[in-house]
Amino acid sequence: MLAFAIRRFGQSLFVLVVMSFLVFLGVYAIGNPIELLVNPQADEAERVRATAALGLDKPMLEQYATFLVRGVQGDLGRSFVFNVPAIQLILAKLPATLELALAAMVIAIALGIPLGLIAGLRPDSFVGRTIMAGSILGFSLPTFWVGLVLIMLFSVHLGWLPPNGRGQTVMLLGIPVSFLTWDGLQHLAMPALNLALFKLSLLIRLTRASTREAVLQDYVKFARAKGLGPGRVIGVHVLKNILIPIVTVIGLELGSVIAFAIITESIFAWPGTGKLLIDSINQLDRPVIVAYLLVIVAIFITINFVVDVLYSVLDPRVRLGATAGAH
């Protein structure tokens, strides 16, 4: 377990360095931030001054080397636009994004797995068909459209929920969270549902397919023949065996939901990192883009690590040392 963790850490560090270089190169290739930052009415001297002030007058490789040296010391640079440390900007917005992503995943899991099980156990019933039809809708409707429809329905026509922003927050272990206040929950409901919809459909379909496969297996028939009740057959024998692919997908999707909640965040003006990333890309605010992607990669790596550990819990045949190369 320890050897596995250390090897994983080494690999992760390598991934982080390679990624930061690629992003550096990419942003450099897109364009010159000075074109967007400096007021067009300014003169040439001002452009030269701003270029030097932001360190953009140096060759690209030298800029990257400076970034690496400072990065090792824990300084990921200051935002060109806001002149605050990039990491501070991201960490200030991260709790909102994590809360939204987790809320969406909770909705997706709490509804997706039971609905998928029902649809898998009774594929030809009316309920099963309805669930599947619903999941197709969830898959195919674009997120931004669903978001707008939700706002039009619940905020504009019914007036039940606020159309944008994050509600009142309280501190929980030093992190501002909004799901513990009524105002916060009201603000959270629509964006979380909007973000959950796609993942929900995915989990329903995945659970259904795995369930249909599992119920035909010999061990399920045997369990039934042994006289076990349907609750135990489904809850223990079926569910536990179909969980490995589901946990994998949940892990991957959680990462992507954190990293790419951009559309939902911008429609609901949710003050998270997705909006920060889009704004930073539009402004070519390189320090923020690089720092953001580093944070996201670190989150992905952590989630994958947790998923690997979960495998070994769910399936005693999985040994961590052996799976290290596989993911």
């Binding site: 897109i30 364009g31 010159n32 931030p33 074109e35 967007l36 930052l37 400096v38 007021n39 067009p40 009415q41 300014a42 003169d43 040439e44 001297a45 001002e46 001054r49 701003a50 002030a53 932001l54 200051r78 060109f80 636009v81 806001f82 002149n83 605050v84 900007l89 200030a92 917005k93 931004f144 707008l148 706002i151 039009m152 905020s155 504009v156 026509h157 019914l158 007036g159 039940w160 606020p162 159309p163 944008n164 922003g165 911008s266 429609i267 609901f268 003006a269 003050p271 909006k275 920060l276 704004d279 890309i281 539009n282 402004q283 070519l284």
Partner: protein, 528 residues
């Protein structure tokens, strides 16, 4: 339910509109949805339109601009040019900063010292202070500015620099402003809260020298997504939004629960034609794809034809849903330095064909229109529309639009032939824009800094340079008009239209639309 919402909103408006029994028990609060986020509370950190607009609530310059960009006294009550190099300003008496300290000439001196020295500024205000070589205090309410050469834009430059109290100007960092510690000005509102990319909260400054504002509290919410901004207004979450998407204007206008206000802005959408090389020009070829033997954009007849082939009225009516006005020069007629003789070029595809034939292109040619797709109102659709008009005049036009992060870098490098661009004249006078966009490119001398097409005309250069040293406003204006006529009659660039900025409010509110596109709580009043 919806009805109840609007009754509530109307009730709120009624309370706001009720006779002002000073600080009635209910706080008069207003919420405003903004499109663009400001980047700092430091008024000398980033010379950016959203910053300059928002920070006017808290800080004030010596001279302010009204909704039509005309100068009005702010912290200065009067000013005059004593000679070509010396300007005297009389300051306002009895003004206090938010922390109670009285305002005096020393604060102005300290502010002007701070402006060029804000660390890491991505776009400095030094542009506005550089021409000033000395700031002299005559007495606490009189101050003299000395410039090295005649500087006609001095009042305009001063309008961009917000005054800080001396102790703040000497010590405060950008971080101190963002946290609110140093956000101390003389403006009608006080700083209350700032969360980057999310919101700004302001509280009324009851001791304001200009009288009390109708709001106790103003909350600006950053709602960059256009649909989300409209939804926030529809649900009553905000009482006003800026930059109404053109597609929603008709709907809001026909609904009695909302009120719209708009105004022709100081931003012109125009086309620069690449004239850097005599022989070739990027993305322009003969109809059969072969290179042309010379750069057609060097020929004034070709430029004229390209201008005649655009149906400006149709673009303003259809593409911009009437929220644009056809342009003949760089600013609309009401602005200083514009020529009344210049009229938008008439749509005449046949005439354009003839001119092209005269210039040696009877079969037209092929070009690519390059433009941004997230910078100006409907920018990509405008490019598409121009391309269609060109096909009727025998010019085969392709369209390629891209995000502004990519576009402007490439446009500045001269990688495009036909460039759709926009320009907002922040000084409100045409001379500086003519110099920046059309004078022969010589950045060291401040000429043609944004001349991406590299148009060059010695006669025009001289006219502009001569005009911009005449300090007397009345004597200068005809000179600027002459230069504008020279450039526009030579089709130095192709003006397309002026953007019209729009605001939408709930009924019960009235916004006094501004030319400079700023969204200010000072312009928002309860409707009578």
């Amino acid at each position: 339910m919806m009805l109840r919402m609007f009754k509530l909103a109307a009730a709120a408006a009624a309370i706001a509109a009720a006779p002002m029994t000073a600080h009635a028990q209910k706080e008069r609060e207003v919420n405003i949805g903004l499109q663009a986020a400001l980047t700092s509370i430091d008024p000398h950190y980033h010379n950016l339109s959203p910053n300059n607009g928002m920070l006017q609530h808290i800080f004030e310059p010596l001279i302010r601009r009204d909704a039509n960009m005309k100068f009005v006294p702010a912290l200065a009550v009067s000013w005059k040019a004593i000679d070509d190099l010396t300007w005297e300003f009389k300051l306002r008496k009895g003004v206090r900063f938010h922390d109670g300290t009285p305002f005096s000439a020393e604060d102005v001196v300290a502010t002007y010292k701070r402006v060029p020295n804000v660390p890491n500024s991505p776009s400095s205000f030094a542009t506005f202070t550089k021409p000033i070589v000395d700031v002299k205090v005559v007495d606490p309410l009189t101050i003299i500015f000395k410039t090295a050469s005649p500087h006609v834009l001095l009042p305009s430059d001063l309008a961009a620099v917000y005054i800080l109290p001396k102790p703040v100007a000497e010590k405060a960092t950008t971080d101190d402003f963002n946290s609110g510690k140093a956000a101390i000005g003389t403006g009608p509102y006080k700083f209350a809260e700032y969360i980057p990319n999310q919101r700004v909260v302001l509280k009324a400054n009851y001791g304001y020298w200009g009288g009390e504002e109708p709001w106790d509290k103003v909350v600006f919410k950053i709602l960059s997504n256009p649909a989300a901004r409209v939804a926030a207004l529809l649900s009553g979450d905000v009482q006003m939004i800026e930059t109404v998407p053109t597609s929603d204007i008709a709907r809001l206008a026909s609904d009695k629960r909302y009120a719209l206000s708009d105004k022709v802005s100081n931003r012109v959408i125009y086309v620069h034609l690449n004239q850097r090389n005599d022989k070739t020009v990027p993305f322009v070829t003969a109809r059969d794809g072969k290179p042309l033997d010379k750069n057609p954009f060097k020929d004034a007849r070709v430029r004229k034809a390209l201008s005649m082939a655009i149906n400006r009225d149709a673009i303003a009516d259809r593409v911009m849903e009437k929220k644009a006005v056809p342009a003949a020069q760089l600013l609309a007629d009401s602005f200083y330095g514009t020529s009344k003789k210049l009229k938008p070029v008439k749509y005449d595809p046949e005439g354009a064909k003839k001119l092209l034939a005269e210039a040696g292109y009877p079969n037209g040619f092929t070009l690519t229109i390059h433009g941004p797709n997230n910078r100006y109102i409907n920018d990509d659709k405008v490019a598409q529309a121009i391309a269609q008009f060109y096909s009727r005049a025998g010019i085969e036009a392709k369209v390629e639009t891209m995000p502004s992060s990519v576009y402007f870098t490439r446009a500045t490098k001269g990688e495009f032939g036909y460039m759709l661009l926009g320009w907002g004249t922040e000084s409100g006078e045409q001379g500086s824009s003519l110099r920046s966009l059309l004078a022969t490119h010589d950045p060291a001398k401040g000429m043609g800094v944004n001349n991406r097409g590299r148009y060059s005309n010695a006669v025009f250069d001289k006219q502009v340079s001569d005009a911009l040293v005449v300090v007397d406003d009345r004597k200068r204006e005809p000179l600027i008009q002459l230069a504008a006529e020279t450039a526009m009659n030579d089709t130095a660039l192709i003006p397309v239209h002026f953007e019209v900025s729009t605001w939408a409010t709930l009924k019960g509110f009235k916004y006094n639309a501004r030319v400079d596109q700023y969204t200010l709580a000072m312009e928002l009043k309860p409707a009578k």
